[in-house]
Amino acid sequence: MKMIEVANLTRKFGDFTAVDSLTFTLDRGEIFGLLGPNGAGKTTTVRMLCCLISKTSGSARIADLDTSDSDDAMKIRKMIGLVPDNVGLYETLSAYANLEFFGRMYEFPEKQLKENIEKYLKILDLWDKRDFPVGSFSKGMKQKVSLARALVHDPEVLFMDEPTVNLDPESSKTIRDVILDLRKENRTILLNTHNLDEAQRICNRIGVLKTRLIAVDTPENLAKLVSGRKTVILLEEMNDRILGVIRASNPKSVETEGNKIVLSMADPERETPEIITAIVSAGGKVKSVSETGASLEDIYLQLVKE
């Protein structure tokens, strides 16, 4: 059984289409990253999947339950956790009181709830501050409480909307580590993020969203979608004559940075030896030759631009 099944999911606000014919599925234990620019429809998608807003057309099922059926929606809400883009905590209440309140709203057994509150506050290094009002916390600490809130009732599926945005590196790492631990526990996670590095590190698959889903694949396979391979040649010394012979070989692009030349070629296996030979013939001394793949940022920018 797929944990999340989305087929042709569409949401319109009047004439404006926020999400257009979205189709994807998630297996149990999978972390799926939704990448997209602001206004791409990421939050609207999460809200539809969390049964917070209705769809215009298409279908969305969580653990085989229909998000548009009111009875199913109540069951879905019970088995999912949401980390919204705003922490949305009660600032005058303590971290513990916030988690206790939400745990009870999720109808989670009281004994287990207390155990989970302690467990997650300890994991997130907030146990000593459990009785402090959330309003006195830093942004990173609030985000951790927000994450704990999404976890206290042991949800099978988690929706996270930009969980590490604007956080310091240490808080971001703590949250990423928790997400990776959740994958080991076989929880299914849909992660909205702008952070390409984060998506690459923790997601099994990535969907690039710009109202429509432009591409869905593993980070490695996405890299093959764009011609991002580049050859980096480091010379002892750079001069116009060497640059001239390189340009004469007609690579797709040439970028120079001091003694470093970055080349993009149609057929690197055939062209690289020819260019090296030309450089040496022109009196150049090659210190190293290496190849870089397209980064997720390159892929993302190219896909979104297209």
């Binding site: 606000f13 809200r47 969390c50 917070l52 807003i53 209705s54 109540m74 069951k75 809400r77 019970k78 999912i80 949401l82 919204p84 705003n86 922490v87 949305g88 905590l89 009660y90 600032e91 005058t92 209440l93 009181a97 309140f101 939400f102 009870r104 709203m105 999720y106 109808e107 009002p133 927000s146 809130r149």
Partner: protein, 245 residues
């Protein structure tokens, strides 16, 4: 409707209210202050100016209407705070993501605003009756309170006004993003009550008449139903997340 879920939310709202001293003070200080100030007014202004028993009785009969107005004003403030507070803290989305129906959440908001105000109003009315009786028994010759007029205020007028205030607060808060603004606009909807009070003061209608108090309570009941329907129509997930400011 699972009332226990609404009660969890109401308890949270009450806990938040306790943390905001100004809010808690407003809820309890105003009715209690009034419960002491009004009898003192009777003692110092009326009795010492040798008012007749009829004058005193008429005045005493009109005073409980004051508590009806306050019963609507105070929950207006609390419910505005409850909704606008959730909006400004962005806590509505995670709350709506819990397995709780819109009706249960709304009911929780109603209970959280209704209970403290009603307790405070009842406390105020009881103190008011006790002090007034104490100060006027020698002049009137009997205990003026409790009477049927006060019973109508206790059992009908104050609770209906209170529910009206909560509903108005919820409805207005959906359109406004600051508590003071929501409170002030909500308070405008209470103009008919102020007009009634003025009409009572200038002698056009009698606010000590049991029949009139019953008619006012019935009017409040109708207003409660209309305002509840408006707030219920406004308070649904879709509207909150896509249309609320």
């Amino acid at each position: 409707m699972r009332l226990w879920k609404s009660w969890i939310l109401a308890k949270k709202d009450l806990a938040v209210m306790r943390k905001h001293r100004s809010l808690a003070t407003a809820v309890f200080a105003f009715p209690l202050g009034l419960s002491i100030a009004l009898p003192l007014l009777i003692e110092y202004i009326i009795l010492r100016k040798s008012a007749t028993v009829t004058d005193v009785s008429s005045l005493l009969g009109a005073f409980p209407f004051f508590f009806i107005i306050i019963s609507a004003l105070l929950p207006l403030y609390i419910s505005s705070y409850g909704i606008v507070g959730e909006k400004t803290e962005k806590s509505l989305e995670p709350l709506l993501a819990t397995p709780t129906s819109d009706g249960e959440i709304l009911m929780g908001k109603y209970i959280g605003a209704f209970l403290p105000v009603l307790v405070s109003i009842y406390l105020g009315l009881t103190i008011f009756m006790f002090l007034t009786d104490l100060l006027t028994v020698s002049k009137i010759g009997h205990f003026f309170y409790p009477n049927w007029g006060m019973a109508i205020v206790y059992l009908l007028g104050a609770p209906f006004a209170c529910i009206y205030g909560v509903s108005a607060g919820v409805f207005v808060s959906s359109k406004i993003n600051n508590i003071q603004g929501a409170y002030q606009i909500g308070a405008v909807s209470l103009i008919p009550l102020y007009v009634l009070y003025i009409l009572g003061e200038v002698g056009i209608i009698s606010l000590s008449s049991n029949t009139n108090l019953l008619i006012i309570s019935a009017g409040l009941f109708v207003a409660v139903i209309i305002m509840y329907m408006l707030s219920r129509a406004t308070f649904n997930r879709e509207s909150i997340l896509t249309r609320w400011k």
